[in-house]
């Protein structure tokens, strides 16, 4: 009924101070939520971009080859055939990159460290060159045999400069020890927590280290048009690969370099395929995002609770002030549910207007912050893999925030409104003024 809306609007307007206070609080919470989710989306996007460049596709088809049951080589044989099947069975595929996988020791004159060693075909990698920030050297030199790219932390720890040699040692896939001397051709700026133990060598060098033939590769990295489909695509590929006669490993939420020991202990030999997603291959990013999301949820819950209390309190006051009026309306024939509707309308109207205002302000603030190119504090730069604060405003997320805040606030008005609906009409007859 239009009149109920009018009554609600006018009562809100009449108690201007109270309305502004609560409406302002609702708007501020909406702004905060919009900014937090935009920060989350921005962080997720930049983390995803970095991680998918460094170490993973949206979906990875890789695996282990065990020549005896006590060994584990991170390799797939005859990868070209596998790639054909995978390309055919992946809906929404955008691009494919083949990488080599390894794990070994980097030894310099002064020190040593364990490192993930990725084999890379630099000529086929557009994103890799664009995203890495090279501090010293030249990333295109990774096409030369026995070249290696390391990150600044590794360079510092092992005291390496461009042109220095570093020994890369590992076990061949037959189990013998092997080592290769590599020349540092590029040193890159750190990109997230894991870059301190990441290194890149040409595919050919990695094959040489492990004693693989050219038909082998570490894994096929798939990039999808819609990265959110990664889990679904991975699940589908697991099924399809089994149908094509491959043995497929059970899904484990771990990066491949944490799976060596597990696979070594397993009692099988030959090839098994492992299909993983970016979340599996970058556990740090996964937990950062999970933690970030948890913080948002907790902050949001607390703020929502405050708002609900505010709405309830404000409506209690409104109802106490208008007890006589409500009693009179009940007496002249307003049904209980209409009284309920009258007060819920008031709560809902306030919630909707303030959260809409908040959402608009939040979006504007997000664009403003982006335009200001704010630098992140150092600690966060590492964690969030980005130097500047990047907010990604996502319309469905903003609308969802708005609807949730407006909805929950409206829910908060139901209890007081219900109490108002229970008011007896005799209240209006009380003669006292």
């Amino acid at each position: 009924m239009f009149t109920l809306l009018q009554i609600a609007a006018r009562n809100l307007a009449r108690n201007r101070k109270r309305t502004l206070l609560l409406g302002g609080a609702i708007a501020i919470v909406t702004v905060l939520l919009v900014l937090l989710t935009a920060l989350f989306n921005g962080t997720q996007a930049s983390m995803l971009r970095n991680a998918t460049t460094l170490s993973t596709g949206h979906v990875n088809v890789a695996g282990f080859y065990k020549i005896t049951s006590g060994t584990a080589a991170p390799v797939v044989t005859n990868y070209k055939k596998l790639r054909e099947i995978v390309e055919k069975e992946t809906p929404g595929l955008q691009s494919v990159v083949v990488r080599g996988r390894g794990f070994g020791k980097l030894v310099s004159d002064v020190s040593s460290q364990m490192a993930v060693v990725s084999g890379i075909d630099i000529e086929q990698e557009a994103n890799f060159k664009n995203i890495l920030e090279i501090v010293h050297g030249d990333v295109t030199k990774l096409s030369e045999p026995h070249a290696i790219l390391i990150f600044e932390q590794t360079a510092e720890r092992l005291e390496l400069k461009i042109g220095d040699n570093v020994t890369l040692s590992s076990q061949t896939f037959r189990g013998a020890a092997n080592s290769i001397d590599c020349k540092v051709v590029a040193i890159a700026k750190p990109l997230g927590m894991f870059s301190s133990f990441f290194s890149y060598v040409p595919m050919t060098t990695l094959r040489e280290l492990y004693g693989f033939d050219p038909a082998t590769a570490g894994g096929i990295q798939l990039y999808l048009k819609d990265w959110e489909q990664a889990e679904a695509v991975a699940a589908r590929l697991r099924v399809e690969l089994v149908k094509s006669g491959y043995r497929v490993m059970d899904h484990t939420e771990k990066p491949y370099w944490q799976k060596f020991d597990i696979v070594k202990r397993e009692d099988w030999t030959g090839q098994k395929i492992d299909v993983t997603t970016w979340m599996d291959e970058d556990p740090f990013m996964r937990w950062t995002l999970v933690g970030f999301r948890a913080i948002i949820v907790i902050v949001f819950m607390v703020l929502l609770a405050i708002i609900i209390i505010g709405v309830m309190n404000t409506l209690w006051m409104a109802i106490r002030e208008r007890t006589r009026e409500v009693g009179a309306l009940r007496a002249i024939g307003m049904q209980r549910h209409t009284v309920l509707a009258m007060f819920v309308t008031e709560g809902a109207l306030l919630a909707l207007i303030s959260s809409t205002a908040g959402a608009i302000l939040g979006v504007l603030a997000a664009y403003g912050l982006n335009a200001a190119h704010l630098k992140m504090i150092k600690g966060f730069q590492m964690v969030l893999m980005s130097e500047t604060v990047t907010l990604l405003v996502n319309v469905p997320t903003v609308l969802l925030s708005l609807v949730v805040i407006a909805g929950v606030t409206t829910l908060g008005s139901i209890l007081p409104a219900w109490r108002a609906a229970r008011l007896q009409p005799v209240e209006a007859m009380h003669s006292s003024n």
């Binding site: 009924m1 009149t3 009018q6 009554i7 006018r10 009562n11 009449r14 208008r322 006589r324 009026e325 009693g327 009179a328 309306l329 009940r330 007496a331 002249i332 024939g333 307003m334 049904q335 209980r336 209409t338 007896q424 009409p425 005799v426 209006a428 007859m429 003669s431 003024n433």
Partner: protein, 242 residues
């Protein structure tokens, strides 16, 4: 013609008691009250403060139910009705005028008077407008149709309240001390208006503890300590007072 529906009593109370329970104590506000109100009456319930006037009007107004006895309003036994049905009965058969007016503060005079019609959902906007303006004219405040209660004097507000009570053409209008919050001149004007509306056909039942107001009534029901002690005409009442 003797048995046309309009000559049936609108209100019929027989042997009504009303108890209020305050913890362990029971206050009996009405005892063995029997009363009939016929169409066209202009009846006052007179009695000192605490004698049970409000309680009696509440029972007749279907906002409260009797503890014992029967209350029949517009042909319905109120003791047998559910809350929703009582509310509907109030909306369609009764009109209320309150001592402290009780208008909706944020609606203007026109909207306040229109409100019961909106609750009824029987008329379209044009019909409602005609009815509301007719009533505002009859109570003499058509020119204030778009003023809110806060911008009106007490007498004007009570006129709006009277228009609101009459807008659904109720069988009876109940008014609990309608002039108690008004000065005597304004109170008299309100009583004049009620009398005039009564002559035009509206049945009124109102209460007062003011002897001057009692003298305006067509019929006086005297209440003392929750009992009806006398039924008389205003003339009889006045003679006795003198």
């Amino acid at each position: 013609m003797a048995t046309t529906p309009s000559s049936q009593p609108i209100v019929h109370l027989s042997n009504v008691d009303k108890d209020y329970k305050l913890g362990a104590v029971t206050v009996t506000a009405l005892r063995q009250v029997s009363l009939e109100i016929a169409p066209g009456e202009f009846t006052v319930i007179a009695g000192p403060s605490g004698s049970g006037k409000t309680t009696l009007l509440n029972l007749i107004g279907c906002v409260d139910v009797a503890t014992r006895g029967q209350v029949i309003v517009a042909g319905q036994d109120t003791g047998k009705l559910a809350e929703g049905d009582l509310t509907r009965l109030r909306l369609n058969a009764l009109g209320f005028i309150f001592q402290s007016f009780n208008l909706v503060g944020v609606l203007d005079a026109f909207q306040n008077v229109e409100f019961p019609l909106l609750l009824q959902k029987k008329m379209n906007a044009a019909q409602r407008k005609e009815r509301v303006m007719d009533l505002l004219n009859r109570v003499g405040i058509a020119e204030y149709a778009h003023h809110r209660p806060g911008e009106l004097s007490g007498g004007q507000r009570q006129r709006v309240a009277i228009a609101r009570a009459l807008v659904t053409l109720p069988r009876i209008v109940l008014a609990d001390e309608p002039t108690a919050n008004l000065d005597s001149v304004t109170g008299n004007q309100i009583l004049d208006l009620m009398q005039e509306l009564n002559r035009e056909g509206t049945t009124f039942l109102f209460s007062t503890h003011d002897p001057k107001v009692v003298s305006r009534a067509g019929r006086v029901v005297r209440l003392v300590d929750g009992r009806i002690v006398a039924e008389e005409t205003a003339e009889q009442y006045q003679t006795r007072q003198a």
